[in-house]
């Protein structure tokens, strides 16, 4: 499809470097799916969906800077929702998020609650000022927070909060956040890989599975269409947690 034109109807400043944009159209996403967001005249970048009509964006570079410069009433071009989202399964689930990775998990947790599932959440942030969607997660179940500097909750990375949970209690674990965090969590859950779903971030150009820039070594899984949510057993022994490729295809 060509990009759909969407108008920004609301902008929420979540933290100093994270904003939520709500659009004048319903996206009807599966939680975990993403949009290719075209900032006209700047670039087109993938963004995960945080509301049925919105995205939550962290300021990281030129395209997100341009998104931050937009106002209510401005327009964006949207392709999507794209890719395979999270698959809800089981009765008790655990969400583990880091930083802005909490965004798609909030949408997922709300969908799980609607299905009558029991939801627990573990979120890691750098400091108390970076907390994202605390109320949304508290509304749907138990919430454990960790911060790197100890300014809120448990001091340490998100994985430091794992020890406060009995992982065997959960039918399914959902991850979204910085790759070292997700790789660390998967490493601490040996034998449970088939019960873990992780949302993966790679450099997307086409968003339709043909350019190959997001393919994972050594399987060649195309994250943009076969992901971005991938079951952890398909990530073990791959480049995941070790390296990724930039726009030219060079490893970094």
């Amino acid at each position: 499809m060509r990009p759909k034109s969407a108008e920004i109807v609301e902008i929420v400043r979540e933290t100093s470097s994270v904003r939520t944009l709500r659009f004048d159209l319903e996206l009807d996403p599966v939680p975990g799916q993403y949009l290719m967001v075209w900032v006209r005249g700047v670039d087109e970048v993938p963004m995960s969906i945080s509301y049925r009509n919105g995205i939550t964006v962290q300021l990281v570079g030129e395209a997100t800077r341009a998104i931050f410069d937009l106002s209510v009433g401005d327009g964006l071009g949207l392709r999507g929702p794209l890719g395979n989202g999270f698959l809800l399964t089981g009765k008790r689930i655990l969400l583990v998020g880091g930083g802005v990775g909490a965004a798609p998990l909030a949408l997922l947790g709300e969908a799980a609650r609607e299905e009558g599932m029991e939801v627990s959440t573990l979120l890691g942030f750098r400091c108390c000022d970076d907390l994202l969607f605390r109320e949304r997660f508290e509304r749907i179940g138990d919430l454990v927070i960790t911060t790197d500097d100890g300014s809120e909750g448990i001091c340490g990375r998100a994985s430091a909060g794992l020890s406060s949970l009995n992982l065997q209690e959960f039918d399914q674990i959902y991850l979204c956040g910085p790759e070292p965090m997700m790789a660390d969590v998967i490493g601490r859950c040996r034998g449970m890989e088939t019960k873990i779903q992780a949302s993966i971030d790679r450099y997307f150009k086409c968003g339709m599975g043909i350019c190959g820039s997001c393919a994972i070594d050594p399987s060649g899984i195309r994250v943009c269409v076969e992901g971005p949510v991938i079951r952890a057993d398909r990530l073990v022994g791959t480049e995941f947690g070790r390296y990724r490729r930039g726009p030219s295809g060079l490893k970094k």
């Binding site: 499809m1 060509r2 990009p3 034109s5 290719m36 075209w38 006209r40 005249g41 700047v42 670039d43 087109e44 970048v45 327009g75 071009g77 392709r79 150009k205 086409c206 968003g207 339709m208 599975g209 043909i210 350019c211 190959g212 820039s213 393919a215 994972i216 070594d217 050594p218 399987s219 060649g220 195309r222 269409v225 490729r245 930039g246 726009p247 030219s248 295809g249 060079l250």
Partner: protein
């Protein structure tokens, strides 16, 4: 059962259905996956002398009957690409390196820097300044670059041609004079899409190349004309998505076909096997060999 194996442009293949240049071939893992999924040969994404990030997005937009793209030749440079070719070869199919350059010297430098089962010269990319088609629309350039690379490499050399000229046969003949072992036709057609909401061209590069079903009839005609005029094999590419498309290309005279845009369909990598198996069933039903199918349409001239 009819055999699909044989020589395609100087390279022995188990079937004539290949992965086209520019599609998925950025990494060895993708090349190997295509080969293991049944491709008879795989062509890499075009590789040049220096790393390039490519154009700004959008780099691809879906339009009526196909895709419009302006990737901008992103690649990690040949210096970082041998490893990918070697991994691709583990798939059991020949790996053809697509290469580009700003001129004769760069083409030679890249070709000499890579060990592959064949080379495909990208003299046809329609959306990179001073590269691709900007060089490859002149027959004299095609001939000179082909000759220079041919002198330096020991493996078969193909030249991928642009259809964005008055006479593609003239370019094919130039490649043949330069010593090419085959030509590949066609690259994308110059095209454009505009966002009606804002009036902006959609592609980051404004202009791009059209691929997919919309260009297949153009490609079939180019293959037919080239196969009629050239002594070297013609490889058909442009809108091939089904075994019928492949059969049509071969009937126009193609020695083999390449599949690109259709990899974006839901069946993904499964497309190689479905085209090859469909082609084999068709030959069995008709009681024909692949060789008998080749150029069949030209009998009716």
């Amino acid at each position: 059962m009819a055999s699909l194996s044989g020589d395609v442009g100087g390279i022995e293949m188990k079937n004539p259905v290949m992965l086209a240049a520019g599609i998925l071939g950025t990494t060895g893992a993708s090349l190997r996956r295509a080969a293991r999924s049944g491709a008879g040969g795989v062509v890499t994404k075009s590789v040049g002398a220096a790393p390039r990030d490519g154009h700004r997005g959008p780099t691809v937009v879906q339009v009526e009957g196909g895709l419009l793209n302006a990737m901008g030749l992103p690649n990690p440079s040949y210096r970082s690409f041998q490893e990918e070719i070697d991994i691709g070869r583990e798939g059991g199919a020949p790996v053809v390196a697509s290469i580009f350059g700003s001129g004769l010297q760069e083409f030679v430098e890249v070709a000499e820097g890579l060990d592959a089962d064949g080379f495909e010269l990208n003299l046809s990319c329609p959306h990179a300044e001073r590269l691709g088609a900007e060089i490859g629309c002149e027959a004299c350039n095609v001939e000179e670059i082909t000759r220079a690379v041919k002198e330096r490499v020991k493996v078969p050399l193909w030249v991928k041609l642009t259809p964005n000229v008055t006479d593609i046969v003239g370019l094919g003949l130039a490649a043949q004079r330069g010593g090419a072992d085959g030509v590949v036709a066609i690259n994308t057609l110059k095209a454009m899409a505009i966002d009606v909401e804002s009036g902006r061209p959609i592609l980051g590069n404004r202009f791009g190349g059209l691929s997919g079903p919309a260009i297949k009839p153009v490609a079939v005609r180019c293959v037919y004309d080239l196969a009629s005029a050239l002594d070297i094999p013609v490889i058909g590419v442009g809108g091939v998505a089904t075994w019928q498309d492949a059969a049509e290309m071969i009937m126009a005279g193609a020695a083999g076909v390449q599949v690109g845009t259709a990899l974006g369909r839901a069946e993904g990598y499964g497309i190689f096997r479905s085209i090859a198996e469909g082609l084999r069933d068709y030959l069995d039903r008709k009681g024909m060999t692949l060789e008998e199918l080749r150029g069949l349409a030209r009998r009716f001239s």
